[in-house]
């Protein structure tokens, strides 16, 4: 390991002392809790047969996207991610009803029921999907960065992908172009330790994924992705770098998914103990909860109130997702082409 990467790695230890104000901390907690409860509900609806196909839950990784969104300028910055996308949509302030109704394949879903769990978008919220092919969102996100630069709108694209996708050739092609043209892109590698059932050590020659940009001169930091304030702090630094015209930045988020790769994953590739150890020692929501209490942002009663509010939001979304009608058959032949 070079001196430089050692130095970068040391930012990991500086964890999360960026003085976020109590109100903000409360918001991060609430946003993370919403994702967790939403995903639990989605898992439940899947079990009831109301959601079909692939459904990839974000439980365990909530701090990553909430911390990054806390660092971003949501007016101009754009977000793109893979198929494990529900959390990113909620953190982008998309309506939980529209997201859940898309999961159930209803007309009230963000894609009118034509995209499903893996393919949802909101131009209004600068959320560009929701992409089902591992790694494909990385060059597309690089193109969003290209558009930011071309239009000089001051925006940065946050392109999220997993440890699995980080081995795709197109990711390196994107790194090269982004560095060559100094595009405003922050590559957020959500290293949840398994690409489907294959651990990082079995798939990647070098495990320090944040250093994957070294060949292109792209700086990278390893970040505790289970700590929302650490993520926010790293995100602010990376976004500032990209926004100021210095080109792309890579953040290697050390995170963990509690559930299987998708709903049909029996998760034989890891032990129950491994999962419960992370849950009990590193859970991002427990940590955020502690931040809330430490900052005296609210008390136990206040937290209970938040829990209740979040449950109500998720419950409304679940109701909506079952009441919203299925798309009309006439929708079959719409949205294939735009009328010229």
């Amino acid at each position: 390991m070079t001196k430089e990467t050692k130095k970068r790695k040391s930012t990991k230890k500086s964890a999360a002392k960026s003085a976020a104000n109590p109100e903000d901390i409360l918001k991060y907690y609430k946003d993370m809790l919403l994702i967790r409860r939403f995903e639990e509900k989605a898992g439940q609806l899947y079990g009831m047969g109301l959601i079909q196909g692939f459904c990839h839950l974000y439980i365990g990784q909530e701090a990553v996207v909430v911390g990054m969104q806390a660092a971003a300028n949501n007016e101009v910055d754009t977000v793109i991610t893979s198929y494990r996308d529900h959390g990113h949509m909620l953190a982008s302030d998309m309506d939980p009803k529209g997201v859940m109704a898309e999961l159930t394949g209803r007309s009230g879903g963000y894609s009118k029921g034509k995209g499903g769990s893996m393919h949802m978008f909101s131009r209004e919220k600068n959320f560009f999907g929701g992409h089902g092919i591992v790694g494909a969102q990385v060059p597309i996100g690089t193109g969003l960065g290209f558009a930011h630069k071309y239009k000089e709108d001051g925006g940065v694209c946050m392109a999220y992908f997993g440890d699995g996708a980080s081995n795709q050739g197109q990711v390196f092609e994107s790194f090269n172009m982004a560095a060559l043209w100094k595009l405003p892109v922050v590559y957020v590698i959500e290293n949840n330790r398994y690409g489907m059932g294959t651990s990082v050590s079995r798939a990647s020659a070098v495990k320090e994924l944040y250093s994957r940009g070294a060949a292109f001169g792209i700086p990278g930091d390893s970040v505790d992705g289970m700590d929302v304030l650490a993520v926010k702090e790293a995100g602010e630094k990376a976004l500032e770098h990209a926004r100021s015209g210095k080109g792309p930045y890579i953040l290697g988020m050390q995170t963990y998914r509690y559930r299987g790769h998708s709903m049909s994953d029996p998760a034989k590739y890891r032990s129950r103990e491994e999962v419960s150890k992370v849950r009990s020692e590193r859970d991002p929501i427990d940590r955020a909860r502690q931040y809330v209490l430490d900052a005296k942002a609210t008390d136990e009663d206040g937290l209970k109130q938040i829990d209740g509010d979040v449950k109500a939001i998720v419950s409304d979304a679940a109701d909506f997702s079952q009441q919203s009608p299925e798309p009309e058959l006439s929708e079959l032949y719409t949205d294939i082409l735009i009328e010229a």
């Binding site: 060059p139 690089t142 969003l144 172009m177 949205d335 010229a340």
Partner: protein, 453 residues
């Protein structure tokens, strides 16, 4: 012993060029490797090096001469002291046969008047200008880029090199490096980047040096560009043009000689167009750039240097989805696209000399196909021949045959005939390559067969 210096071919498809400048004079001693002259084509300028040692005994073709055919003797290099004044210059060797693979020999029959007057463009009656397809494509991009700041061109060698096939000549100079962008050799990456830029509100033109290399980017063409509008319930329009050379080139073998029309035609969410003439090239490319959808624009390398009359009007466009009847006829409909339209027109001429009146349809758009024009023609002629360079299996001809059965079965007097590229990877050898591609004889034979002649 003297050696003739022949006009060289600088590219697989070059047939003639300009002898721009002699760098040696008669009487000069030359070493192997010395630069003798500069040769120019519409694409490039290249240096001609001596391969023999001796004295430049005689310059046969003066500098500044245009249209010098490949293999024409242009000078004689003799041994020291040899008198070359009496050396007889042999007749020019024939142009490379490779070209004949794509551009068949002219018809050997006596010229006859066409059986019907060619159709002129119904919409356009203004001035025209003679342009190569290459210039027409460049003009289309330049005109559109002048009118919309969000249009940019990216691809390998499009900027400083002026285009691998010189399609983007002058664009860097006019629009600058922000809008005319050389990419690394990274098709998968820059195709995805282009799609992202289109999602981000820009209107990219992505050049593939040839569509053979677009296979590296197939996932983004299909999964990202074509499908995202649908998957987003109509939110994510992708206004982007993917253009470049498609189809058989000459002498470059299987990986560089293939028609992809049927591959892309298969995909809902794409528009696929393939111009034949300069008018098609300019009018269709302008429509493609203005279109809010992803458009696959299949050009043809051998057509780049061919000249056509092109409407001299920056408002002129050719609508996507509309075929053109290039020649009217009554006995058989020959349906084709891209360079094969030229072959179909030659075949129609040959058939006319045998009393068969062929109607030639230039599809222009592969997706959507202009079913109305096809069906209307078949109802008139009752006979159909399709002509394409691509493979027969699940090809455009197969689609035409299916459409014919679905829409005009009762009007058919003979089964549809397909003239296609042979069902093999493109071979390198000239004779084998020529045997793969459709030619005049194959088209005429097919047309006569459906006419039971």
């Amino acid at each position: 012993m003297s050696n003739q210096v022949l006009m060289p071919a600088l590219s697989p498809t070059m047939t003639e060029g300009t002898l721009a400048k002699w760098l040696k004079s008669e009487g000069d001693t030359v070493q192997s490797g010395d630069v003798l002259a500069e040769i120019e084509t519409d694409k490039a300028t290249m240096e001609l090096e001596a391969v023999d040692e001796g004295v430049l005994g005689k310059i046969i073709v003066a500098e500044g001469t245009e249209g010098v055919a490949v293999n024409t003797p242009i000078a004689i290099i003799s041994e020291e002291g040899e008198d070359v004044s009496a050396v007889e210059v042999s007749a020019p060797a024939p142009a490379p046969k490779a070209e004949a693979a794509a551009e068949p020999e002219p018809v050997a029959t006596q010229p006859v008047a066409p059986s019907a007057a060619p159709i002129t463009e119904d919409a356009y009656t203004g001035q025209t200008v003679t342009l190569t397809v290459r210039e027409a494509l460049r003009d289309a991009m330049a005109e559109e880029m002048r009118s919309d700041e969000n249009i940019f061109l990216m691809g390998e060698e499009v900027a400083e090199y002026q285009g691998a096939y010189k399609i983007s000549q002058g664009l860097l100079e006019e629009f600058g490096g922000r809008r005319v962008i050389d990419t690394p050799i990274t098709e998968h990456g820059f195709t995805g980047l282009g799609v992202g830029a289109a999602f981000g509100g820009l209107r990219p033109i992505v050049e593939f040096m040839t569509f053979n290399f677009a296979m590296q980017a197939m996932d983004h063409l299909i999964n990202s560009a074509a499908k995202t509008l649908y998957m987003s319930g109509g939110q994510m329009g992708c206004p982007i043009v993917f253009r470049g050379a498609n189809g058989a080139a000459a002498g470059v073998a299987a990986q560089h000689s293939q028609c992809y029309a049927s591959w892309y035609a298969h995909v809902p969410g794409l528009k696929v167009v393939s111009p034949y003439s300069g008018e098609d090239a300019k009018g269709l490319l302008k429509s493609a750039i203005r279109d809010p959808n992803p458009v696959i624009f299949l050009e043809n390398e051998i057509l780049y240097g061919q000249s056509f009359e092109v409407p001299d009007d920056s408002d002129f466009t050719v609508p996507i989805g509309k075929a053109k009847i290039e020649r009217e006829g009554t006995d058989v409909t020959i349906i084709s696209y891209s360079i094969m339209v030229g072959l179909a027109l030659e075949a129609a001429e040959a058939l006319a000399s045998e009393g068969i009146s062929a109607e030639v349809i230039n599809l222009r758009s592969i997706r959507p196909l202009d079913i109305d024009t096809i069906v209307t023609s078949i109802k008139k002629t009752n006979r159909v021949v399709s002509v394409e360079e691509g493979w027969p299996v699940a090809g455009i001809g197969s689609e035409i045959a299916a459409i014919t059965m679905e829409h005009a079965f009762d009007y058919l007097d003979a089964p549809v005939r397909r003239v296609c590229g042979e069902d093999v990877p493109m071979p390198y050898a000239k004779n084998l390559e020529a045997a793969v591609l459709p030619n005049l004889d194959k088209v005429v034979t097919a047309a006569k067969a459906v006419c039971y002649r």
